[in-house]
């Protein structure tokens, strides 16, 4: 059963913008490879100032993806994100069913 997730990734602000944007593609690729699918377009927030410095950096590129995937399928992706040097932080949130339906994601289960 596919579940609705929201994945937010912060790419290091010192990385070139093109390299950071390439992450959106590699993210969607690895999601589909894991048996999930990206719902809608990946949301590219661009470079954004942090509310507080992280690793002595003030800026980062924010990417938000709506993902539908079977439970546990994204564990590998999370591990690679944790290891990847360019990724400052990431957050994977399981969307509640009501909110997933509001975003038009629940129906495709």
């Amino acid at each position: 059963m596919a579940r609705a997730y929201e994945l937010m990734v912060i790419v290091d602000g010192d990385v070139e913008e093109t390299a950071a944007q390439a992450w959106t593609k590699s993210l969607s690729d690895s999601i589909t490879a894991a048996g999930g699918s990206v719902h809608g377009k990946p949301d590219w927030w661009g470079k954004r100032q942090f509310a507080y410095p992280i690793d002595k950096k003030e800026y980062g590129y924010y990417i938000v993806l709506n993902v539908e995937a079977p439970g546990g399928a994204l564990d590998d992706l999370e591990r690679t994100l944790r290891i990847a040097d360019d990724i400052v932080r990431h957050k994977l949130i399981r969307l509640p069913d009501a909110e997933a339906a509001r975003r038009g994601m629940g129906s495709a289960a």
Partner: protein, 131 residues
């Protein structure tokens, strides 16, 4: 017993005027999902020191307050909201206004040179006033 207590607590006369029930922003703006990405919404549930406002102030019910709290904490993790924010020059000597917690923190902060100068000045003025 319980009925008596309830009676005492039920709003009648002036007590009803004193405690006007606040409605949460979540209700007035019909927010159905508290999103941690919605910084503009979350900042309204946060004090100027970036502490989460309590339920009495926000008018949230228990569930709303929990949603807000988790959303704020998520937003903090992703550096969308600060964990703390320094408020410049709210401190007036020692004691003064503000809650007890604020006062305690102020005492810790006195190491910064500007504020140390402030305290010295204030003590000086106090002496002159006495003289």
């Amino acid at each position: 017993m319980t009925s008596k207590r309830n009676k005492a607590r039920s709003p009648k006369g002036d007590s009803a005027k004193k405690f006007k029930k606040k409605t949460s922003v979540l209700v007035t703006e019909q927010v159905e999902y508290v999103d941690y990405k919605d910084v503009n919404l979350l900042t309204r549930f946060v004090s100027d020191r970036s502490k989460i406002r309590n339920r009495r102030v926000t008018g949230n019910d228990v569930q709303q307050q929990r949603d807000i709290a988790t959303a704020i904490k998520n937003a903090r993790e992703m550096a969308l909201l600060p964990y703390t924010k320094r408020v410049a020059q709210t401190r007036t000597g020692r004691g003064g206004r503000g809650d007890g917690e604020g006062r305690r923190r102020n005492e810790e902060v006195t190491e910064t040179p500007e504020q140390v100068d402030d305290t010295i000045e204030s003590t000086d003025t106090g002496e002159t006033a006495e003289a």
